[in-house]
Amino acid sequence: MKFIDEFRDKDLVRDLVRRLGQFAAGPATIMEVCGTHTMAAARFGLKTLLPPGVSLVSGPGCPVCVTAQADLDGFLALGKEPGIILSSFGDMLRVPGTATSLEKERAAGAAVRVVYSPLDAVDLARQETGKQVVFFGVGFETTMPATAVAIQVAAAEDLPNFSVFCVHKTMPAALRALLSAGEVKVSGLLCPGHVTTIIGASAYDFIPQEFGVPCAVTGFEPLDLLLGIDSILHQISRGQARVDNVYRRAVQVQANPRAQALLTDVFAAADAAWRGLGVIPGSGITIKEKYRQFDARARFAALLAQVPPPPPSACRCGEVLRGVMRPQECPRFDQACSPSHPLGPCMVSSEGACAAVYRYER
């Protein structure tokens, strides 16, 4: 496949690995911010290729994993109401809420539909005129434009039965919070390639400037990841810190103007609760007033107010998401917690750090 096979080339990988070994000076902990990086690194066994002392640690970039328990509980509660159809990306299906999951609710008779795009949920609303269709808007900047389009389309048609339960989150604010807390010492960040196609590489300029941490915007194939690691090790060895873009076939320095126009039209910045990280100022979005009728939190406010706050969870995803603990270090990993009996989202999300280790590295 074009743009994929070239970046899985065995010989190029070998050459690059040799180069990494030549100038890597001392230990370095590199955080792969994005869950898709985590999964790709595990699937290709990249950790075994790194020079001694250079290690990868997962960050907060799995959108399913950082969804607050209270938000998921709220969405699940809506599914108990007759006449409400819950629609979601497939990733959310097995994620455990406090008492249940979308998969269990579907088995118990709730109307739960997996969609491939927010526009599929709009389509569903067109067909199911007597019912309310609520779409769970999850994801970082990558998926936000698609949700924005769905809301615009619903508004243009004045669809009375479509709304979005918005839990979208924005990446730069989360990285600022993580680095400010200083809990985890990272030598460099592999910044998320897909997110950056929307927000542009310049969105991370504050990281080298304020925190002195080298960044590389990185794609998802083995060579992409190694190029990102190569960039960070180079920056470290020269005492530099900047934002390097090694995913140039997809990412530009500036934000995607069309996507930004969509986001500005539909969403406004807001504080957001992250699983394991708490409330981070400015790290989420709300649906603007002019589209309020498509905001499920507003439309079903009375119902949502009755959902009890979640009790403390046995899952230690928070520590994994902050890069403080590796999945294998969790006492519940592969014991009480496994993909068929997950205690938290990191074990079931296709981008989850625990799932990556469970699937590929045990």
Partner: protein, 318 residues
């Protein structure tokens, strides 16, 4: 699913004949027979490359073949949702007849029930097959270190095709299911005296499920060469787009064949000479490593495990 089968069924039916393979074995006098049954549910019922009828016959024929049995006779039971067009049913029946003939078996009995609209989804088919065991002892538990693993063609074709047809995704892709009876491949190998230890058709759960089952049953370690497993470009693209692991996507016309090392090249040539085996490859070997483990040597030369799939395949966010 395995846990459910063990808890509910195996604990109650459990007897010597109820075992971890796709077919049960019966002994009648000196004759060994294989018996297997399977229910088929697929949406849509007609898809590029096949239909539910061809699927129902191929699946049962291939399950008999995994026990080294020559397929003899099949039964076919239909649960039909009220309102299904007779034309659709005729098309399915015709397809079953042709597929059975191709697979060397006859459909000799059956049953039909019509249920109210909404109680079933168009049509469900259960097929049961009986076959004559040509060589006893071929089972998922008979694999040994040193064996080579032959895969008879590309992976993921059926699962990717059906998923894309069901969801109307990725317009312009031209995928086709691989659904087919593999009688020619297997009977050739047996008739030519190849030392086969096990066979498994990697249907739901893909080769990841089948390889893990065999590794567990035989208490061996399997090592697979990722680059030796063929994936058609359209299937690869669909799996990349949907975030699916192609090793976990269903096949309906492929066989994993575990053969003694000395016979591997001969067996490979025989498989490649068959209609549905032209793309066959040796994809790996059985090792002395940790029992029950399946390892993949990746395309970039690293090693990782291949875990069994858990639950349905779900597309991902981004």
């Amino acid at each position: 699913m395995t846990a459910l089968i063990n808890k509910v069924f195996l604990s109650r039916y459990g007897n010597a004949a109820f075992r971890g393979d796709d077919s049960a074995l019966l002994r009648v006098g000196t004759q060994h027979l294989a018996l297997t049954t399977d229910s088929y549910v697929v949406t849509p019922i007609f898809f590029p490359g096949g239909d539910i009828g061809r699927l129902a016959v191929s699946g049962t024929v291939n399950d008999l073949l995994t026990a080294a049995a020559r397929p003899l006779a099949l039964s076919a039971s239909f649960i039909i949702e009220e309102g299904l067009e007779i034309k659709a049913l005729e098309r399915i029946a015709q397809s079953m007849r042709e597929t059975a003939a191709e697979g060397g078996a006859a459909i000799i009995t059956g049953d039909t029930k019509v249920v109210p609209r909404g109680s079933a989804d168009k049509v469900f088919i259960t097929t049961t097959g009986v076959g004559e065991v040509l060589r006893p002892g071929i089972t998922g538990a008979a694999v040994r270190p040193g064996d080579k693993i032959i895969l008879t063609g590309s992976v993921g074709d059926h699962g990717a095709t059906v998923m894309i047809a069901r969801e109307n995704l990725l317009e312009g892709t031209s995928l086709s299911s691989d659904v087919a009876p593999l009688t020619e491949i297997v009977l050739n190998l047996l008739e030519q005296g190849c030392e086969i230890h096990a066979m498994r058709d990697p249907t739901r759960g893909g080769i990841a499920a089948s390889l893990n089952e065999i590794a567990r049953q035989s208490q061996v370690c399997l090592e697979i060469e990722e680059s030796a497993v063929k994936v058609r470009p359209g299937v690869a693209a669909a799996c990349e787009a949907l975030g699916l692991d192609v090793f976990k996507v269903a096949n309906e016309g492929k066989m994993l064949i575990f053969v003694a090392s000395g016979d591997a090249e001969k067996a490979l040539a025989l498989v490649r000479a068959s209609r549905y085996g032209q793309d066959a490859e040796i994809i790996g070997a059985v090792q002395d490593g940790p029992p029950g483990r399946v390892q993949v040597r990746t395309s970039i030369g690293t090693a990782r495990i291949l875990d069994p799939p858990s639950g349905e395949l779900l597309p991902r966010i981004c």
